[in-house]
Amino acid sequence: MANYKYHILICGGTGCRASKSEDISENFKRILVEKGLDKEVQVVETGCFGFCEKGPIVKMLPDNTFYVQVTSDNCEEIINEHIVKGRKVKHLLYIDPDNKHEVSDSKHMNFYKKQLRIALRNCGFIDPENIDEYIAREGYAALASVLEQNDPAAAIDTIKKSGLRGRGGGGFPTGLKWEIASKNHADQKYMICNADEGDPGAFMDRSILEGDPHSVIEAMTIGGFCIGATKGLVYIRAEYPLAIKRLEIAINQAREYGLLGKNILDSGFDFDLELRYGAGAFVCGEETALIHSMEGLRGEPTFKPPFPAQEGYLKKPSNVNNVETFANIPVIFNKGWEWFSSIGTEKSKGTKVFALAGQINNVGLIEVPMGITLREVIFEIGGGIKNDKKFKAVQTGGPSGGCLTESFLDTPIDYDNLLAAGSMMGSGGMIVMDETSCMPAVARFYLDFTVEESCGKCTPCRVGNKRLCEILDKIIGGKGTMEDLEILKNLSQVIKDTALCGLGQTSPNPILSTIDHFWDEYIAHVSEKRCPAGQCKAMKRYIILSDTCIGCTACARACPVGAISGERKSAHTINQDLCIKCGSCYDKCKFNAISIN
């Protein structure tokens, strides 16, 4: 084996690849060969480092130097300076926004300081396309010891005691789920991985599959052994081509090593995996809909019971877990349930991965212990609100979740606290909004998503959400009445109570939570016809200031609907009935003679 003195790790996640990280690694390899350094320096494409805001990321080891926003033009400089001369390339280091100093070690960055990476332990550390690196990091040791002990009940007990709960959103105890599935007897059972990540803005499952596919394969095999399933299925969306490719490579490598297939590790246990592709329907994240989709039927949910543990895929007992849940499992066996349950809060153990997005400085993927506060996540790890604007709300839980305001910033984040606060954990999307966000419009955005994604099977969801969307349109359009607000509240409650599946039951949540926390904004839209955030087009009025206007006619020529009239060299006026509020006149005016009310 070559004895490398340096390792160059390059982020090969979808985010950094979109910024051409593939070219960077190609370039590094080419230059190293040219300089005859390819036997001393190893170039590794890893999974996501999480700090997507600053991508593409390049990490140099053993001195742990973290270069940000690297382009392939920087490769030569990094090799000449860092590798050959041993000097850091200062202009590629991360600059601490607080004291403007360069930080070279990621451990000193606020973004990483508070993180605890369990599910993401190997992301940004190993080459996901090389099973040997996974094995070197204790990979498949959990599976081997579970098989050697040969006691499924004891293994399930370990997961139960660890307190691990489903990371897909619901938070159902994983050990209990396995126990129920193990007690149902059948000639064939299935272990299913839900990789149909659908929440807008959430991408942790993709990153895990891209960065550490073996951890999911290992955990599914352990799960299969525990519940007595010999077949595993991964339901993954076809929009994740890189995750699919790496998962396929990983499955083949595991088969070659005898870690999948017949008689795994000589234990007599058979288990193999297959992929099933989803077409990217949000409702297929719901387990019964997911199973129908895998069977080749329409992706529609059915009433539970029967639960998948009783009658799942092809009417056989099946167990469905989310990608992130699986990624935690090998660690629980390797480090012990006592270790795992010592992290987190009383009822929510371990860590949670969040995808930070929206008006926040450090957009990216983070993993933090349960019980951390929103303030720590948004202001310390996330680096605060962009452009020094004021924090308004954070949306958690995707279209099923809700908005949390400033008063919740110090609430410890866990499943139960978020539910009590009127939102939910969901899969971990966290969209931060600043003072310029209009809350009824935010609710409208999520509702629009649910209307698009509703499968149409039950009336409350199919018709009800459409009506909610129309009422919100009316309010945002400046035509809402107080009666509309009452209907909005009532109808939301009815949909919540009567819809068939989780999608419908939670779809009004964005409305209910914004009504709860931002009632005054709804009132302002309805009674004053005013948008406090200044976002809603319909409430805007463009007015020409007659004192400032010199009558250059630029605005009148720009107006696409001919709403502006006036004589040359005298003040113009806008006909408010014709104005479509496109803002063209405002952009054209060179004399600041147009104001927006």
């Binding site: 053993p62 081997a144 070659e256």
Partner: protein, 133 residues
């Protein structure tokens, strides 16, 4: 590819493979293990720092010592090149000068293992303004 047949088999394989990523793991926990910096600027390289660095890496791995060996720029002791700075966990860094391949092996065997101070120690005569970088 040979199939893995048991937990013991897997552990054996893991131990064989461990070396391939130990550099990354050690780099991640540098404070807890021995850090060795070899000055590798023009003066250092001209005096033979490259074979010294190779010797340090080799003797550390042959003695199973977890150490991060990195190169650094000129420390200013050009008269004493090649120079090597060794930081053992819990100890102050010590700079050794006039290091040859032979002496490099001795440094690992005597200083790192037995805490025996060898000749050629360059007294620390400067203060650093920034420990972050």
């Amino acid at each position: 590819m040979d199939k893995i047949k048991s937990l013991a088999d897997l552990k054996k394989k893991r131990d064989e493979l461990k070396a391939s990523i130990s550099l990354r793991e050690d780099g991640d926990n540098a404070e807890q293990i021995v850090q060795i910096k070899v000055a590798m600027s023009t003066c250092g390289i001209a005096s033979g720092a490259k074979p010294v660095m190779d010797a340090l890496i080799e003797s550390c791995s042959s003695l199973n010592i977890r150490a991060v060996v990195t190169q650094t720029g000129c420390m200013g002791y050009c008269y004493a090149e090649p120079t090597v700075e060794i930081t053992k966990p819990g100890h102050e860094p010590i700079v050794f000068g006039y290091v040859t391949v032979e002496k490099a092996k001795n440094l690992v065997e005597k200083y790192i293992v037995n805490n025996e101070i060898l000749e050629g120690v360059i007294p620390q005569s400067y203060q650093s303004i920034d420990n972050e970088i």
